[in-house]
């Protein structure tokens, strides 16, 4: 990444772009962008917090881990798989827990690392991406993307057994 940015700066110099002015112009959009998505993030995060506090999350984990097991997903990573669609920072906290509890270089540790790549904070991304549009009906978007993420998790667990 540092090489890419250095390269970009050099190329911009070469193209005679006024980097400072252009950078400031772009950066100006940041506050408005975040202001626009803020209420949507609050709604999703409050929901996640209440789900955790009320024990729905634990219930879901208990309910789903046999199914996950049948699909080849180890129980140790089920909490990660379950919370990943909702929260990015939360799932990184769980990933850290997995590293300290089960070890980084073990099967579970590696499996969890790859799952972070194949899955996405889906509800967060969907909320934020659609927040600035007229879209009220997502039709089949969420279930479809969820199926893709579950497929990704299964593949991740399989590949970590081989590679």
């Amino acid at each position: 990444m540092p090489i890419l940015i250095a390269g970009l700066m050099l190329y911009a110099r070469f193209k005679k772009v006024e980097t400072y002015n252009v950078f400031v112009k772009g950066a100006k959009g940041s506050i408005n962008l975040v202001l626009g998505i803020f209420p949507f993030i609050v709604a999703i995060m409050v929901m996640v917090a209440l789900m955790r506090a009320s024990g729905i999350t634990d219930m879901l984990i208990r309910l789903l881990s046999p199914i996950f097991n049948a699909l080849g997903i180890p129980t140790e990573v089920s909490e990660l798989v379950l919370l990943r669609p909702f929260t990015g920072s939360g799932s990184y906290a769980i990933l850290k827990d997995i590293y300290t509890t089960y070890g980084v270089d073990t099967y579970v540790g590696r499996c969890a690392s790859v799952i972070m790549g194949t899955s996405e904070t889906l509800f967060y991304v969907a909320t934020v991406y659609f927040s600035q549009t007229s879209v009220k009906k997502l039709s089949y978007a969420i279930p479809l993307a969820l199926i893709c993420n579950i497929f990704g998790t299964i593949i991740a667990c399989l590949i970590c057994r081989v590679l």
Partner: protein, 195 residues
């Protein structure tokens, strides 16, 4: 989204009423405060990446990237609009390099441009969501950082498995989406013919 949110909120509130009613408001307030912290961070991070993206744009690099990816984008999103193509191209490439924070502003912009004001997600919008959800990861930067911090013997050891797994997931996601969209289109055509 409305139904999911309403259902989960109602269920958690009811459960909390039985278990621990006093926790309800505290939990809500605390999580909203957490969002403030997150958003302050996001303002800073997006400022950096929006600034850099603007430079990328002004140097003409984004146009080059868009031209490079335009056959793929035309196939997946059925669009040749230069502005949309550019935004999707930047969104996809940022995601692949593991800079989600640069990908998000481009994704939001692309969604706005593809919006047809009908209130319903168009096939292209759904495709963009799936492409983002299943993105190929060349450099899983954050995960490698966390592995290093946790004292891994070889933090980059997961790069190849991640690449293979995300590649397969992306192929699966894109084909499934194309398949579903084709079925929907055919069904619509049929109902149009019969009426």
């Amino acid at each position: 989204m409305n139904k999911i949110w309403a259902f989960l909120m109602l269920l958690s509130t009811l459960l909390l009423l039985i278990k621990n009613p006093s926790a309800l408001v505290t939990e809500m307030t605390e999580s909203a405060m957490g969002v403030i912290n997150l958003c302050v961070e996001l303002v800073a991070v997006y400022a950096i990446w929006l600034g850099i993206l603007e430079i990328v744009d002004k140097t003409g690099l984004s146009e080059k990237l868009a031209r490079l990816l335009s056959p793929l984008i035309k196939f997946l999103f059925k669009t040749t609009d230069p502005e949309i193509t550019k935004m999707i191209a930047m969104n996809i490439s940022s995601n692949m390099l593991g800079v989600g924070n640069a990908a998000t502003p481009c994704g939001i912009r692309a969604m706005q441009l593809m919006d047809d004001k009908s209130g319903k997600a168009t096939p292209a919008m759904i495709m963009l969501l799936v492409v983002n959800a299943t993105s190929i990861q060349l450099l899983p930067t954050t995960t490698i950082g966390l592995r290093t911090a946790a004292g891994s013997a070889s933090p980059t050891d997961i790069m190849i498995p991640t690449l293979v797994a995300t590649f397969l997931t992306a192929c699966f996601g894109i084909s499934l989406t194309l398949l579903i969209q084709r079925v929907f289109k055919r069904r619509k055509k049929k109902s149009y013919q019969t009426t």
